[in-house]
């Protein structure tokens, strides 16, 4: 019964199918397709017929979908299309045993369709639904075939010219089979197949393998040389037509063209060079290929150009061609682009290569830089950081000037804009180099970890600086345009900041980095850079205030770091550099000068005072600080006593004499005199100060600000007290505490004393520190007669001598009074007090030491004419009497002091 049913069902199916098919109408295609599928399943022998019908359906469906322009129409409305969508999954899932029937059928069908529709664009055809289904079926079934059958199928397809796209598509499943077979075709056909194949990334590998195999086969040494004569020209020809082939051939070219291969290739070339096929691949076409290839080929060519004359010629040809091509706008040469992509390798080669390589790469780099400003910047940055020799630095110059030259055609309308744009790029490059060098210093490097650090122990920043300095020197000596100088000048603030960061004492020094190396060499180098920069603003825009301030601060910091140098030569050189820098900076900017002076003095007096032998003015050496409660503190107790103790500087008095209950303050510095003024460091500092004041009338102005600064730094509260000296009594009652403090502050600080001397020389400037002189005089008045012990006396006397010498030098004491200096050592304390009060204090009180006293002469020199400012006898009588009284000892001074005076008058 069962079989009977089956039989009838089968014959009904068969009848329906035969009847339906014979009508040649695709309206009922879906039903027939269903029947066909069931026939395939139950009646495998009918497969030929069913597949034939399916082929008809596919043909029709392709026609329908090509003509179906509007997308609105529902694809399932058409019988053929619907059938196709049924057939697709069915034939894909028939299984292994069916594949030998289905695969050839598919391929024949594809070939038929492709041949029939060869006038249509491939893309259109490929995108139609039926063709996609068909390709799927083919791919699916091909994978189920065994190797032999598969190869047969693929050969079948390759024979058909019209369906290279189909081969490419289907071949994705079996690239290893397709690729070598495709290469056996003519160049055009192979190109088409490979192009389609390469849309599938994994297939690329096989394409490459096939190409390389073919190549290796071609150069193998055996008897069939004649047969393989045309392989290499064929490959080159193919590459010239197909990017994919070129890419596949040139990928990892260094692995393909090893030295042995090259040797063999030379032999092959020599044998076949004159045969027909080889004529077509002369240098011109090789250069055209190389232009399209990547930079690794270029590097390989460079390598071989060393030995091989032909390669050298080819290289030159190529370079000329590239340069020529690059002149056209929008030239997108793959070689140049690839060089830009692999810029790291290229640059490294630039550093390490031999001369030919270096020069050739520089030429390529010029083009890269010309095309890509970002690479221009990074190349500059890289070379500035990594160049270690003159050669490489020269290459940088070459690259930059080459790129500049390419960019600024002399007759362009916007030459200046262009030049400026490029200058900006260079500036950025320098900035990046600096930044990167600084960053590199903070990075942990292998060589430091392993302890195999660079022999020269130079930081990256140091190298950068050396390079910059070298460049700047070259530019100064040569006639080249000063792009480096301009760039550094434009970024001088950064350099300043770098120097400042380097010179800072409190700096992070992570281990195993270049930052852990000694600071000073780098600082010196940075200072050298700054030293070599032109900051006058004549060639480019003058640096901004902010930049100047940065550089000044950095320089001052550097100056003080130099003072700590143990190597005397380095120290002097550094200090000189700093001074030169200060001079350069201050010459054109009063602001710079003010800042520099203040910075120098302040640092010298407070932060770096130890260097100059100064002692901190207040040392509390009383043992064991006690836990004072509020009421006990002297400051509060003093506050209760009324206004007099709340005067200026009164807080300092707390410590001045000691602590109540603990006795007099111990003088730790007892026995030690005031620090010497004439010390090396002091002189260097003075030199730096003087450097700041270079230029016309700079010294007077500078000294003026120094003296104002001294007052401010020693005791800011007297800054605005003015120049006059008050009554002696007033000082005794009101300001003696302050005067004492000020005197000791000045005395302890060699710097301030030296500075005072310097100001005294620049005539009216000393007037402005009259507060300091006043303080010294007042304290001397107060203390000179009290001290009887010789040590104390000696000190007081020394102070007196110094005061007198400064005042005399500053022309605050006119003629007869100026000689007190010589008398002073011989006077007794009481005489000193007399002289101080009557001759000096009173005179200065009555003749306020103000710049108005000094007249300016034609040379711009300020001075006080001794003839016009003869002190009245009131101020000299005391002196005269003292000399007369002690004529035996002081007599020799009398004529000098008084007789001439009278003669003059």
């Amino acid at each position: 019964m069962n079989t009977q049913n089956k039989q009838t069902a089968l014959s009904a199916d068969l009848n329906n199918f035969i009847y339906g098919v014979s009508r040649r109408n695709f309206q009922n295609a879906p039903e027939l397709t269903k029947i066909g599928i069931s026939l395939l399943r139950n009646f495998p022998a009918a497969r030929d017929a069913v597949l034939e019908y399916f082929a008809m359906v596919f043909h029709d469906a392709v026609n329908v979908s090509i003509n179906q322009t509007d997308y609105e129409s529902d694809s399932s409305a058409n019988g053929s299309l619907e059938s196709v969508s049924m057939i697709g999954p069915e034939l894909c899932s028939m299984g292994e045993s069916w594949a030998p029937f289905i695969a050839p059928w598919c391929i024949t069908l594809i070939m038929d369709i492709a041949t029939e529709k060869s006038n249509l664009p491939n893309a259109t055809l490929q995108n139609t639904e039926p063709v996609r289904v068909l390709l799927d079926i083919t791919t699916q079934n091909l994978t189920l075939l065994n190797a032999e059958e598969r190869a047969k199928c693929i050969d079948m397809m390759l024979d058909c010219r019209a369906c290279s796209w189909a081969v490419g598509w289907v071949g994705r499943a079996e690239p290893a089979l397709v690729a070598p077979r495709a290469l056996a075709l003519g160049a055009d056909a192979a190109r088409a197949v490979l192009a389609h194949l390469a849309n599938h990334p994994p297939a690329l590998y096989h394409v490459r393998a096939a190409l390389v195999d073919l190549f290796q086969e071609a150069i193998k040494e055996d008897s069939k040389a004649d047969k393989k004569r045309d392989v290499i020209p064929y490959l080159l020809n193919l590459a010239s037509k197909s990017d994919i082939v070129l890419k596949a051939l040139t990928q990892d070219i260094a692995l393909t063209l090893t030295d042995e291969v090259m040797d063999r290739l030379c032999v092959v070339c020599a044998t076949h060079r004159h045969s027909g096929a080889w004529e077509g691949v002369g240098p011109a076409s090789l250069v055209a290929l190389l232009l399209r290839s990547d930079v690794h080929c270029f590097l390989l060519l460079l390598k071989h150009a060393q030995r091989n004359v032909f390669c050298r010629q080819l290289l030159e040809y190529l370079l000329q061609k590239v340069e020529y091509e690059s002149l056209f706008p929008d030239s997108n040469l793959p070689l140049v682009m690839s060089a830009a992509e692999e810029i790291n390798i290229v640059r490294e080669k630039l550093l390490t290569g031999n001369q030919l390589e270096q020069y050739s790469i520089a030429r390529i780099l010029i083009l890269v830089c010309y095309n890509l400003p970002s690479e221009f910047v990074s190349t500059i940055s890289y070379l500035l950081q990594c160049a270690r020799s003159d050669t490489t630095l020269a290459l940088l110059v070459r690259v930059v000037s080459g790129a500049l030259a390419m960019h600024s055609p002399a007759d362009g309308p916007d030459v200046h804009a262009d030049v400026e744009r490029y200058q900006n790029l260079i500036n950025t490059g320098v900035e990046y180099a600096l930044r990167d060098a600084m960053m590199a210093d903070t990075q942990i490097k292998k060589c430091f970890v392993e302890g195999t650090g660079t022999k020269d122990e130079k930081t990256y920043l140091h190298h950068f600086c050396l390079n910059i300095v070298k460049l700047l020197r070259w530019e100064r000596s040569g006639v080249r345009c000063a792009w480096a100088a301009r760039a550094v000048a434009a970024r001088v603030g950064r350099v300043g900041a770098a120097l400042r960061a380097r010179a800072a004492l409190l700096r992070e020094r992570p281990p195993a980095t270049a930052a852990a190396l000694a600071d000073m060499p780098t600082c010196h180098a940075l200072a050298q850079v700054l030293d070599n920069v032109d900051l006058t603003g004549t060639k480019s825009a003058p640096p901004s205030v902010e930049v100047i301030l940065k550089v000044i601060q950095a320089t001052v910091q550097y100056f003080f770091r130099c003072l700590h140098e143990t190597d005397i030569m380095a120290k002097i050189r550094g200090v000189q550099t700093a001074s030169r820098l200060l001079r350069k900076l201050c010459l054109h900017s009063k602001l710079a000068r003010a800042v520099a002076l203040r910075d120098l003095l302040e640092t010298a007096m407070f932060r770096e005072d130890k260097v100059f032998g100064s002692r901190s003015d207040v040392t509390n050496n009383v043992a064991s600080p006690k836990d004072w409660n509020g009421e006990e503190l002297l400051i509060y107790m003093n506050q209760k006593h009324g206004p007099i103790t709340q005067l200026t500087q009164s807080h300092t008095s707390v410590f001045h004499a000691g602590i109540i209950g603990k006795g007099v303050r111990k003088r730790s510095d007892a026995g030690r005199g005031a620090p010497p003024v004439l010390a090396l460091d002091n002189e260097l500092l003075m030199g730096a100060l003087m450097a700041c004041m270079d230029g016309n009338s700079g010294i007077v102005e500078g000294s003026t600000s120094i003296s104002l600064l001294l007052v401010e730094l020693v005791s800011p509260d007297v800054m605005y007290n003015g120049l006059p000296w008050p009554d002696e009594d007033f000082t005794k009652q009101v300001s003696i505490e302050r005067e004492l403090y000020m005197r000791s502050a000045v005395e302890r600080c060699g710097v301030s004393r030296a500075a005072l001397r310097r100001t005294a020389r620049a005539r009216p400037a000393l007037c402005l520190s009259s507060a300091l002189l006043r303080a010294a005089a007042a304290s001397l008045l107060h203390r000179a007669h009290r001290h009887t012990q010789s040590a104390e006396m000696v000190r007081e006397l020394a102070a007196l001598v110094e005061l007198l010498s400064v005042m005399t030098l500053g022309q605050l004491l006119p003629h007869p009074l100026s000689h007190i200096l010589e008398l002073a050592p011989e006077l007794t304390p009481s005489e000193i007090v007399q002289v101080l009060r009557d001759c000096i204090w009173n005179y200065t009180r009555d003749h306020v030491p103000s710049p108005a006293l000094f007249s300016c002469d034609s040379t711009g020199l300020h001075w006080r004419d001794p003839s016009t400012c003869k002190p009245p006898p009131t101020y000299t009588d005391t002196l005269r009497m003292i000399i007369q009284k002690r004529i035996s000892k002081l007599g020799h001074m009398y004529p000098i002091m008084f007789l001439n005076l009278e003669k003059d008058s």
């Binding site: 035969i18 014979s22 009646f43 029937f101």
Partner: protein, 399 residues
């Protein structure tokens, strides 16, 4: 009716119709009380060539049928054969349609027809094909090709119809018998070439056929075909000798390793799944070697059924059996080369045992024809086996 008239009438019709009409005309020409004259035969062949298979058109140009037309033709032939009531008529027409030896095109159509008949279990067609096989000789090139095509269709491409196939043994035993005979020619035939083993599903079906119908193997001989008058009936060859070959050689050819692969994947046990208390009977399909054992048993049964009460034995040719010996000897030589002891080699001994059993049953039931003493002499050259030794000795005495 003359040839030209006949052609004239037929030419008025388009392809499917003309074929149908032609078949009727051929029947009229060939089937009668007396054997057809040679002229009639020629006319019939001419008509067949032009109107059935459309090999030539009226001007004698070559043309052919596309696959769809072939299918139409097959449908027509099938219809005709099924409708035919007289076996002789049917066989006559069938043999004249497909009797030509060389025509590949016809053979292809015949293959499709046979395959379709198997698919549809169409008994009349199958019987006709069985007769054709017998007349052509089961081991002829054409028969082998046909059988190969059928196997490809039904054991490779369509593997879902095993049940229907198994039932063929009852509906068309003559066809099945001849079919098996041809199949045994296809597989395990030569040691020199790569060992070509029958696919497992084919083996399964054959085993089931032979095992369930002991008389099957003899059916072609027992039911002589109804042939057109005047033709020479070809002797039917039973598949028994071939099957004995298979069973005997199977232990030598089957690798144990390949058997291992067929272990089904274990089901993942779900956690809450309780092991079923009633264990289902192991319905595991028999392995290949087990199938051969079963087939061997089936063959032995068939041999017993092959005993003929009268007339000479026809079931197994002694020469055919003797052809086993070189194959076994070659295998034994190989073993010796590797230094294996033949007495302890289970595979070889298994093979020899089976040969011994088959020979003994066949001889005892008087199924063997041909030169029996030659057979015994050949068996005597085989490696040492106790059973075989006894059998040879006893039968040599009896001759």
């Amino acid at each position: 009716m003359s040839l030209s008239d006949l052609k004239h009438t037929l030419r008025k019709l388009e392809f499917p119709a003309c074929a149908k009409e032609a078949l009727i005309k051929i029947e009229q020409l060939l089937v009668g009380r007396a054997a057809p004259t040679s002229k009639q035969l020629d006319i019939a062949m001419d008509v067949i060539s032009e109107f059935v298979f459309c090999e030539t058109d009226r001007r004698g140009n070559r043309r052919g049928l596309n696959p769809l037309q072939e299918l139409q033709l097959i449908d027509i032939i099938c219809d005709y054969l099924s409708a035919c009531t007289n076996d002789t008529t049917k066989n006559t027409i069938f043999l004249s349609l497909f009797g030509g030896m060389e025509n590949q095109r016809k053979l292809k159509v015949l293959s499709i027809l046979a395959s379709m008949a198997v698919s549809a279990s169409s008994t009349p067609v199958l019987l006709a094909v069985g007769v054709w096989l017998q007349q052509m000789g089961c081991s002829s090139q054409q028969s082998l090709q046909l059988v190969e095509n059928v196997i490809k269709d039904h054991f490779f491409l369509n593997t879902s119809n095993q049940l229907a196939l198994k039932s063929l043994a009852t509906t068309a035993p003559q066809f099945v018998s001849n079919f098996i005979t041809a199949v045994t020619e296809l597989y395990m035939h030569d040691l020199q070439k790569a060992k070509k083993m029958p696919p497992k599903n084919l083996l399964e079906v054959i085993t089931s056929w032979v095992y369930s119908n002991p008389s099957l193997c003899m059916s072609a001989q027992l039911n002589p075909a109804a042939l057109p008058s005047g033709s020479i009936p070809m002797a039917a060859v039973t598949p028994l000798a071939g099957l004995i070959h298979w069973c005997a050689l199977a232990p030598l050819y089957i690798d144990d390793d390949t058997e291992m692969e067929e272990i089904p994947i274990k089901k993942i046990k779900l956690e809450d799944e309780k092991p079923s208390i009633v264990k289902s009977l192991p319905s595991k399909a028999l392995s290949e070697s087990e199938l051969y054992i079963k087939l061997h048993l089936g063959v032995l049964h068939s041999l017993r059924a092959g005993r003929r009460t009268h007339g000479p034995p026809t079931a197994v040719n002694a020469q055919h059996l003797a052809a086993l010996t070189p194959l076994v000897q070659a295998y034994a030589h190989q073993l010796l080369k590797f230094g294996v002891k033949l007495q302890s080699e289970t595979k070889l001994q298994d093979c020899l045992d089976r040969i011994g059993q088959a020979v003994q049953v066949a001889l005892a039931n008087g199924c063997v024809y041909g030169n029996i003493s030659n057979l015994l002499a050949a068996l005597d050259t085989l490696p040492e086996n106790r059973l075989l030794r006894i059998i040879i000795k006893s039968h040599q005495q009896s001759i």
